[in-house]
């Protein structure tokens, strides 16, 4: 029994396919951790990559793509799980592969896909206060609003009412 067959035998919901000569296993999103565990047990012990793709007009809109690697003999497998656009949540596979941590955070950051069960799902590459998810197809290039400091009253506001500041000067010298 080949390794791919071992995966589909362990999780019947997983469907093996072929994409330009590369082995692909399509899985429903809720069984992604189960399939990842089955793949690991079948010999795909090395976690290589996790990313997301936004197909925008397709249903389901998003796709979570996982690449795994087996050694001796070397073999790759790609796990594809569709994630709907109105409920962008997929289960985390960090419990199976610890290395998925940063990759899931990156997909959350850039696509807004939540990974349930992730221990620390925060933004990875963008600042914490960033609005939106730039790798989504409906987030156009160059739409980031730029705020210039001179145009705001922030500096004035912060200097008032901060008695703990060491450089606080009396307001008036009357």
């Amino acid at each position: 029994m080949s390794r791919i067959e071992a995966i589909t035998a362990a999780v019947p919901a997983a469907v093996a396919a072929d994409s330009l000569g590369q082995a692909v296993v399509r899985v429903p999103r809720e069984s992604l951790p189960a399939v990842a565990a089955a793949a690991r047990d079948a010999g795909f012990t090395m976690f290589l990559d996790l990313c997301a793709v936004d197909y925008l007009t397709r249903d389901p809109r998003f796709e979570v793509v996982v690449h795994l690697l087996a050694m001796d003999p070397p073999e790759r497998v790609r796990l594809l799980a569709g994630v709907p656009g109105d409920d962008p949540i997929a289960p985390s596979i960090t419990g199976v592969f610890a290395g998925a941590d940063f990759y899931e955070r990156e997909a959350f950051d850039l696509f807004g896909i939540g990974f349930s069960g992730h221990p620390d799902l925060t933004r990875l590459l963008l600042p914490d206060d960033w609005q939106g998810h730039p790798l989504r197809k409906d987030s156009p290039v160059g739409s980031v609003p730029v705020v210039f400091k001179a145009a705001s009253d922030r500096t004035h506001e912060t200097s008032v009412g901060s008695p703990s500041s060491g450089h606080h000067e009396p307001e008036t010298a009357t």
């Binding site: 793709v53 290395g99 290039v141 009396p170």
Partner: protein, 477 residues
């Protein structure tokens, strides 16, 4: 200490004790001083006010007066391998931010370290300082322009990035490139590996105190970069390997240049090994430092020299050969120690093996075209444009709208200097990628830093981090 005989304080000549008395009400005192004298001289603020903001309280020399600590401070006992227990109270944990502007972080990486004395208890790598949205940019560039974008990601092995993108595009297009193009690609990427490993040896040597290694490493790398400049026009960000082949043929006299690189780097390698591998200080800084176990290699997806120093003999060139690299003889060095020292051994040996491949390519360089003659993908020669209407149309189409790539998705990996560089390329049938995801080896390696550094000494951070060889352009993209 005697007082200076005369102190000039400007126009304000108030006796010191008068000011002390006034300082109970600071605001009132200041406003009074100003209203009376209308001159305010710096340094004459009420002293209590200054102290309130700068004083840190009485400094205790010895907070812990237990016998062991006192003996250690007196030097009557030698504390060797001092590792305090895990049950240290919370207030003894010190948080240190290393980076993002620390010179030893090799770019803008921030390490959030929780220290218990000299021992690291927790590490959190914080990345994103170099994020420029290159995966988004790739969706706005045509497949022909793609290499200019990806070459800037891992800027120390740019040719591997270009090769990976080109191979992925060619797989979607279903075209083959000529033999000569493949041989040039193999030779250039192996030379790039040599240059990258030389730079790594130089900077890592510098980080752990071997300053001469830095000078030697840069010296030999210069030979390779000079050849790159001659061939591609640039020392980095070459845009040389493109879908369909390479941008230009090798320059006249390239055999002599490559032969010079091979002799020069081989001679240099012997110097480095003499310089470093038996040096007691170097051994002390690298042996048993930053160890990664084989299970951690698998879990974190660590590839390249780091995996091969931990006993995992995985090499993309062997497992999934590309560009005809399987025709050449080379060994994949594997060591078992998993520490910084073995990473040096692996990389030195890889330089040798890469030179071996380059020598074989040089000896058997095929003749013929250096890029595909498929006019839908590669532009026609300049002279043909003046003679053929069809050539003019092809030229115009390629450089305005680009060539269309059939819909589909593919994952392509090459062995870059740092490990498996993978690209997941999705096309919707247009002239621009629908999605390009780059699996950078440095990204996985930075993520594994906690596994390397937890419970080690803070001085080892530098050596372990440098041995991972992270390129932040590859991590943040």
């Amino acid at each position: 200490m005697s007082k200076p005989p005369h102190v000039v304080t400007g126009d304000l000549e108030a006796p010191a004790d008068t000011q002390q008395a006034k300082s109970t009400d600071i605001a009132a005192g200041q406003s009074e001083r100003r209203s009376v004298h209308e001159v305010w001289v710096s340094g004459t603020e009420a002293p209590d006010e200054m102290r309130r903001f700068t004083d840190e309280g009485a400094q205790e020399m010895l907070a812990d007066e237990s016998e062991a600590v006192l003996a250690g401070q007196r030097g009557s006992i030698v504390v060797d391998d001092y590792i305090p227990g895990r049950e240290s109270p919370e207030d003894e944990i010190q948080i240190l931010n290393m980076g993002p502007q620390h010179p030893a972080t090799h770019g803008v990486l921030r390490l959030h370290l929780e220290l218990d004395g000299e021992t690291i208890r927790r590490v959190k790598p914080i990345i994103g300082y170099l994020h420029t949205g290159m995966e988004k940019t790739a969706e706005a560039l045509s497949f022909l322009q793609g290499p200019t974008n990806v070459t800037r990601m891992d800027y120390l092995s740019p040719l591997h990035n270009e090769l990976c993108f080109s191979l992925a595009t060619e797989r979607l297009l279903g075209i083959e490139v000529p033999e000569r193009a493949n041989a040039i690609r193999v030779m250039m990427t192996e030379l790039n590996r040599v240059a990258s490993h030389l730079l790594w040896s130089a900077t890592t040597g510098l980080d752990i105190g071997a300053l001469s290694m830095m000078i030697y490493g840069w010296r030999e790398r210069e030979l390779v970069l000079a050849f790159f400049e001659k061939t591609t026009g640039l020392r980095m960000n070459h845009n040389y390997i493109r879908p369909g082949g390479v941008a230009a043929d090798l320059p006249d006299g390239w055999e002599e240049d490559v032969a010079g690189i091979i002799t020069g780097v081989r001679a240099g390698l012997r110097d480095y090994e003499d310089l470093l591998l038996d040096n007691p200080i170097f051994l002390e800084r690298t042996k048993g430092v930053g160890v990664l176990a084989p299970e951690e290699i698998h879990a974190f997806g660590i590839t390249g020299p780091l995996a091969r120093a931990s006993g995992i003999g995985y090499d993309v060139r062997r497992a999934f050969p590309y560009s005809g690299i399987e025709q050449y003889d080379f060994d994949v060095p594997v060591f078992d120690g998993g520490d910084v020292y073995d990473r040096f051994l692996v990389r030195f040996e890889e330089i040798r093996q890469s030179l071996r491949i380059v020598e074989q390519v040089k000896g058997a360089m095929p003749r013929g075209d250096y890029r595909s003659e498929d006019r839908k993908v590669t532009p026609p020669p300049r002279a043909r444009i003046d003679q053929s209407m069809e050539a003019l149309i092809h030229h115009f189409k390629i450089f305005t709208e680009g060539f269309k790539v059939p819909a589909g998705e593919t994952y392509q990996a090459v062995e870059s200097a740092r490990g498996e560089l993978g690209m997941y390329l999705v096309s919707d049938g247009g002239a621009k990628p629908w999605r390009l995801h780059v699996r950078g080896p440095s990204f996985a390696h930075v993520q594994a830093l906690p596994a390397m550094l937890t419970d080690s000494l803070i001085a080892d951070t530098i050596a372990a981090l440098a041995s991972a060889d992270p390129v932040m352009g590859d991590v943040d993209r």
